[in-house]
C-alpha cells in the first residue's frame, strides 16, 4: 500500500469509524435482546449505553462519510498521478483490479443504511419514551456488517493498487462506447442517446411534481404522496446517473464518445462532477427519507410533530438536489444549443 497522505487519511477515518461502530453494534445487540421499560439497574445502564451508542454511531457515520469523500478525491485527483497511464479515476480503479468499484458500492450502501439508522435514532431521541429504540438498534445491526465489509474492501483495493503496470484509461472508456455501438445496434450516436435524452428530463419532471405535491400540507393522502416521492427519487437516481454519463457529460467534455464519470471530477472540467453527483446522492438520500419519516410519524403519535418537520426538510432537500442536477446537467446542453444552434448529438 502506497503511504500517500490521502490513503492514510482514508484508513484513519475507516479505523475510527470501525472502532465506534463495533461499540455501537455491541450496545445495539444488547438493546434488541434486553430492552424492557422498567426500572432495573440493568435497564438504566442499558439506557445510558444506548445514548452513548447513538453518539458513537453518529460519529462513525460522519467518519465514514468523510472517508468516502477523501477516497473519491484520492481516486479522482491524487492517485491518477501515481498510476502509469491513468488520466482519471477510471484508470485508478483498473489498477485496483476491480476491487475499487465494489468498495465504493459497499460504502454507498453502508452510508444509506447508516443514514436510515440515524433518521430513526434522531426521531426516537426526540420522544421521552423511545418507542423506536429496537427498530433503530436493528437498523444499526444491519449497517455494521456492511460498513465493516466496505472498510475491508477499501483496504484491499488500496493495498492491491498497482502503481507499476500501465493502465489504458481512456481506451477502456472508448472500448465501452464502441461495444455499445457494435452490439447489433449500428445506429448513429444520436439514436443511441435518444432514450436518455427523453428519460432524464421526464424523470426530473416526475420527481419535481411528486416533491411539490408532498410539500402540500397535511391531507389524508400525504402518505401516498411521500411514497410517490420516494419511488420517483429511487427511479431518478440511476436514470440521472446513466444519462449524465451517456449524454449530458458530452456537453462538459465537448467530445461525444467519452462516457467517463470520473473525468467530470477533474480540475480541467472545473470539478463539476462533485456538485452533480452530490445532487444525485442528495435526491437518493432525501427522497426515501421523506417517506420513512412520514410512515414513522403515522405509526407513533408522539413522533408526529418531529416526523412532519423531517419530512418537510427531506422534501426540500430533494427539490434542491433536483434543481442542482437540472442546472448542471441540462444547463450546459441548453447553452450549447443556444450558442451553436444544434445539439451536440446532431
Amino acid at each position: 500500500m502506497i503511504p500517500h497522505p490521502l490513503v492514510l487519511a482514508v484508513l484513519g477515518c475507516d479505523l475510527g469509524a470501525l472502532l465506534l461502530l463495533l461499540y455501537a453494534g455491541w450496545v445495539a445487540a444488547r438493546v434488541v435482546t434486553n430492552w424492557q421499560a422498567d426500572a432495573t439497574p440493568e435497564q438504566l445502564r442499558l439506557e445510558r449505553q444506548t445514548e452513548a451508542a447513538g453518539l458513537a454511531g453518529s460519529a462513525a457515520a460522519l467518519l465514514s462519510l468523510l472517508g468516502s469523500l477523501v477516497l473519491v478525491v484520492a481516486f479522482a485527483g491524487a492517485l491518477p498521478g501515481l498510476v502509469p497511464g491513468a488520466m482519471c479515476g477510471t484508470g485508478v480503479l483498473q489498477a485496483t483490479g476491480g476491487r475499487g468499484e465494489r468498495a465504493l458500492a459497499l460504502r454507498l450502501l453502508a452510508l444509506l443504511l447508516l443514514g436510515a439508522w440515524r433518521l430513526v435514532a434522531r426521531l426516537d431521541a426526540r420522544t421521552p419514551r423511545a418507542p423506536l429504540v429496537r427498530t433503530a438498534a436493528r437498523l444499526l445491526l444491519l449497517a455494521v456488517p456492511v460498513a465493516l465489509l466496505a472498510g475491508l474492501d477499501t483496504w484491499r483495493a488500496l493495498a492491491a493498487l498497482d502503481v507499476h503496470t500501465p493502465v489504458d484509461c481512456c481506451a477502456v472508456v472508448y472500448r465501452h462506447a464502441h461495444e455499445a455501438a457494435a452490439a447489433g445496434t449500428q445506429q448513429p450516436a444520436t439514436l443511441r442517446a435518444v432514450p436518455w435524452i427523453v428519460a432524464s428530463p421526464l424523470a426530473a419532471l416526475v420527481l419535481g411534481v411528486a416533491a411539490l405535491a408532498a410539500l402540500r400540507r397535511g391531507g389524508e393522502r400525504s402518505a401516498r404522496r411521500t411514497g410517490l416521492l420516494a419511488l420517483a427519487a429511487l427511479a431518478f437516481a440511476p436514470i440521472a446517473t446513466l444519462a449524465l454519463v451517456r449524454v449530458w457529460s458530452a456537453y462538459h467534455y465537448g467530445v461525444l464518445q467519452h462516457h467517463c464519470p470520473w473525468c467530470l471530477l477533474l480540475a480541467t472540467h472545473d470539478l463539476v462532477g462533485y456538485p452533480l453527483f452530490f445532487a444525485i446522492l442528495l435526491v437518493l438520500f432525501e427522497g426515501p427519507t421523506a417517506w420513512l419519516a412520514q410512515r414513522l410519524g403515522e405509526r407513533h403519535a408522539e413522533l408526529a410533530a418531529a416526523a412532519a418537520a423531517r419530512t418537510r426538510r427531506a422534501t426540500w432537500g430533494t427539490l434542491i438536489g433536483l434543481a442542482l442536477y437540472v442546472a448542471l446537467a441540462f444547463g450546459p446542453a441548453l447553452l450549447w444549443r443556444w450558442r451553436h444552434g444544434v445539439w451536440l448529438h446532431g
Binding site: 421499560a37 422498567d38 426500572a39 438504566l44 421521552p128 429504540v133
Partner: protein
Amino acid sequence: MSSVLECRQVAVQRAGAGGAPRHLLDGIDLRAESGTVLALVGATGAGKTTLLHTLAGLLRPSAGEVLVDGEAISRWTSAHRDLWRRRVGILFQGAELIDDLSVAENVLAPLVPRQMPAAQKHDACADTLTALDLAPLAARPASDLSGGERQRVALARALVGAPAFLFADEPSAHQDDAHLALVVGQLAAARDRGALVVLATHDPRLLDAGLCDQVVRLVAGRRAAGADA
C-alpha cells in the same frame, strides 16, 4: 406557569443483603402544586431522601408513577430525564461539591451546558452568592469550607438556575440561626417566584418557621396515616 407534581402508588426497592428485595418506599401517594412548600419528615431511614430523589427524577420507581402535569416522567428514558432536570434544583444531603473547584465554579456548574449568554450566567451566580452571604468566599476552593458553608454553596447551586422544582435535603443542616434566616428567606423567595419547593428535614426550626404549606410524614417507607399538617 403553574405545575402539579403527583405520586401514584410509588414504590422503590433495592436488592438488599443476600439479594432479597428491600422496599425503600411502598405505595406513596401525594400531590403538590407549584408556589407551595412540601416538607417530608420522618426518622432517619424512613425514606425521605429516597422519595426526594424519586420526585427529582434521579431514581426511577420500581412501581407506580411520578407525574408532572399529568405526564409520567418516571417512564421516560434516562436521556429525557436528564433534560427534565434542567427545570429542577437539587440540594444533596452531603452537599456533593467538587472540592478542587472554587465556590463560584461549583455554583456555575449547572449553567455551563445551557444555551444562555455568559452575562446572564455570571449575573445569576453573583446574585445567588450574594443572597446567601457567600460572595466573600467566591474564589475559595470548596475543600476549604466549613459544613455550613458547603451546605449553603450547594443550596446556591440548586437555586442558580431559577428552577421550577427545588428538592432540598436537609437545607438547614450545620446552619447557625443567622444563616438559617438566609436559607429560609431563599426558600420562601423560590416559592414566591412560583417554584414547588420539596424539603426533606429533621429540623424543627424549619418546620416552625411557617414556611411549609404541606407536611408529609414517612414511617419505614410508607406514608403515615393522618399525619399531614
